[in-house]
């Protein structure tokens, strides 16, 4: 069985799509010769040429804005923001234009473009290098936001994002870039927008996504050792949310813990908790518990361990929702 790290899997997905779709372009800061800080675009320029895979000046607003223009011109841009924290200079272009161009033109113009970026912590990244910007994007109507939790799914999600008619933000959990998964790429795809049950369980549902999925699974295993059966649901799509999948999962267990790296207040967990209440009120045994990053600026690298949700904190929350 072959094995792929997530960065390699995304690299394969990009290569596959570049080959399939002659209009596709890959660009951003250092994506060419360097192959990206995380080598996600490694070798693509060499293979597909400088015309289709190219470096840009350090100018994120222009990266997003020119991606829009290139999409209008019939090209198919897959632009990289080098880090989560460096996507903010492009927020105006993304919020004011990328997300709305289709609507502004009454549906006449589609913008099939992808903006992909590393996200989250786990690599002792310094300030601005370990952000979880999903709320900024998922709150913005007109965008789709995807976040894979492993190599195989990353391959699928990247392909789906590229083939989608709408602008898609792909957040790539950098703590998973180097994590290998065994399996065939491109087999057994779940459709975009559908959450995935990673682990079955009867007493509580851990709702999470991206870099916290492996940790949630570990916490569920710990809980199991204490006789608690916890399900793990991987959202995959942060916008739109798979509300039906969420509802079915939590209605079955009656208890939920939401886990993410972003700060608590208005983190995605707020929306998930609100939705769970709306959809599962009559079944909920306990309030949904959020295990998240704290409401402070991102911590210095050597303090990231206690700041991001730990297996211990997740397991503790699972125990709490089940035992109280």
């Amino acid at each position: 069985m072959p094995e792929f790290t997530m960065s390699k899997a995304i690299n394969r997905a990009l290569a596959h799509e570049l080959k399939r779709d002659p209009r596709m372009l890959v660009f951003g800061e250092d994506v060419g010769k360097l192959g990206g800080i995380f080598r996600v675009t490694d070798g693509l320029q060499k293979r597909f040429g400088k015309k289709r895979v190219f470096d840009t000046p350090s100018a994120e607003a222009a990266i997003a804005g020119s991606a829009l223009g290139l999409a209008l011109a019939g090209w198919h841009p897959v632009a990289e923001m080098q880090f989560d924290g460096f996507s903010y200079p492009a927020l105006d272009q993304v919020i004011s234009h990328v997300a709305r161009y289709k609507n502004r033109t009454k549906g006449v113009v589609s913008l099939p473009l992808v903006i992909r970026m590393p996200c989250g912590g786990g690599l002792r990244g310094k300030e601005h290098h370990a952000e979880s910007p999903e709320t900024y994007y998922a709150h913005t109507p007109g965008l789709k936001v995807l976040c894979p939790s492993g190599a195989l799914d990353a391959y699928e999600l990247m392909q789906q994002a590229i083939r989608d008619p709408d602008p898609v933000i792909v957040l790539e959990p950098k703590r998973l870039y180097g994590v290998a998964e065994k399996g065939q790429l491109g087999k057994g795809a779940l459709p975009m927008g559908i959450a995935r049950t990673v682990r079955d369980g009867r007493e509580a549902t851990i709702v999470t996504y991206g870099g916290m999925v492996p940790r949630a699974v570990e916490a569920a295993e710990q809980a199991e050792a204490q006789g608690i059966s916890a399900q793990v649901l991987d959202l995959r799509s942060l916008a739109p949310l798979d509300i039906e999948g969420l509802r079915d999962a939590v209605r079955a267990t009656g208890r939920a813990v939401v886990v993410h790296e972003a700060p608590k207040t208005l983190g995605l967990g707020a929306e998930i908790a609100a939705r769970i209440m709306e959809e599962c009120f009559d079944r909920l045994q306990t309030p949904v518990v959020r295990v998240t990053g704290y409401d402070t600026p991102y911590p210095p690298p050597l303090l990231e361990d206690p700041w991001f949700p730990t297996v211990e904190r997740i397991a503790d929350a699972v125990t709490r929702v089940v035992r109280t």
């Binding site: 222009a62 006449v108 007109g142």
Partner: protein, 359 residues
């Protein structure tokens, strides 16, 4: 790469403010029909502008940003483009839109509030949606031009922006992208002296066209009230772009004769004498006088242009008054390729209340 082109000096004026010229029409490379067409379009543009102002005062438009005084800048530049060339406008390019063939009634949907600024087909019309957030459209234009270059298509992209927009970071990033990717784009600044209430002198400390040098492409300053000078500069820039020689920054020095929008009260911040001074440089007066002096038009031809423009303006008014917002359910149709389930639920919700009220 590391070389910059010196900007061509100061504003060129072909017809002088008094309507005289030392230039022979032939030297301009424009046929007589084209010279007449420029006047016709400027007259049409102003008449349409007046009609829009009137529509606003009658409550038929919510607010309207007049381009009065900028007819030469917009008509001269838009007229220099081919039909397939692509324009990315700001919110004040109604004249350019008319020249480039956008349906003026649909254009006014934005100002009437029945839709956002792009319900005409931007691809078909080769005219981007109305862009409000200053300078952001320049990157769209540069990206589009990069795309045309990748395709080897002989298409020129032109981005309009104002003096105010030139202070935004997006201006800089896009100009630098244009330079680095040698994009076939014309960066057309209508410097009308004001960013709402802020005069040029408080927005910048050097002329805008000089910035081009710092990017490594030509920057020119033209008398923006001289339709021929504008047209020539734009044509040169478009030719340069089309022949693979990259971007040009054009600073057309003109003047915003009206307030910023119909909601604005310009008397709070500017002297009416300044406005009066610029009135004497009116681009249409100047050009008409020159055409008459050169015997390229007769008074009768001008009169007919005015009559035709009035007729078009009447059609504009009538058409605009008929514009209605779509049903609220439509708000959910265009955000995505196909609305996700939650949006369909929300669509039902709006429907329940809207229909409830109607019933």
């Amino acid at each position: 790469m590391l070389e910059s082109v010196t900007p061509t000096g100061d504003a060129e004026r072909i017809p002088s403010p008094a309507g005289k010229s030392s230039v022979r029409p032939k030297e301009l490379g424009l046929k007589k029909g084209e010279l007449r067409e420029l006047l016709r379009l400027m007259i049409l543009a102003r008449t349409m502008d007046d009609a829009a102002i009137r529509l606003q005062s009658e409550g038929e438009l919510l607010v309207y940003p007049s381009f009065r005084g900028q007819e030469a800048a917009q008509v001269g530049s838009a007229f220099a483009l081919d039909r397939d060339d692509f324009i990315f406008p700001t919110f004040r390019e109604f004249a350019a839109a008319i020249v480039h063939g956008v349906d003026p009634v649909i254009y006014l949907e934005y100002h009437r509030g029945t839709w956002h600024g792009g319900p005409y087909d931007p691809m078909e019309n080769r005219f981007g949606p109305i862009c409000i957030t200053l300078a952001t459209q320049i990157a769209h234009a540069v990206g589009f031009a990069m795309g045309m270059k990748l395709d080897g298509k002989p298409v020129v992209t032109l981005a309009y922006f104002g003096d105010g927009a030139a202070s935004e970071g997006d201006f800089h990033e896009a100009c630098n992208f244009a330079a680095v990717f040698n994009a076939p784009v014309v960066l057309f600044c209508q410097n009308n002296g004001w960013a709402i209430s802020v005069p040029q002198s408080e927005q910048m400390a050097a002329p805008i066209y000089l910035r081009a040098q710092g990017y490594g492409f030509p920057g020119v300053r033209v008398d923006g009230n001289d339709v021929l000078a504008v047209n020539r500069a734009t044509k040169e820039a478009a030719d340069r772009a089309r022949s693979g020689n990259g971007p040009t920054l054009i600073e057309a020095v003109t003047y915003r004769m009206a307030a910023h929008t119909t909601n604005d009260d310009a008397s709070r911040y500017r002297d009416s004498r300044e406005v009066a001074r610029w009135k004497r440089l009116d681009p249409i007066d100047r050009y008409r006088k020159w055409l008459l002096a050169e015997k390229i038009v007769t008074k009768a031809v001008v009169a007919k242009m005015e009559r035709d423009a009035k007729r078009a303006a009447k059609a504009l008014s009538e058409g605009t008054k008929k514009l209605e917002p779509p049903p609220p359910e439509d708000l959910f149709e265009f955000a995505y390729g196909s609305p996700p389930p939650e949006l369909l639920r929300q669509q039902k919700d709006i429907s329940r209340f809207a229909r409830g009220r109607d019933a």
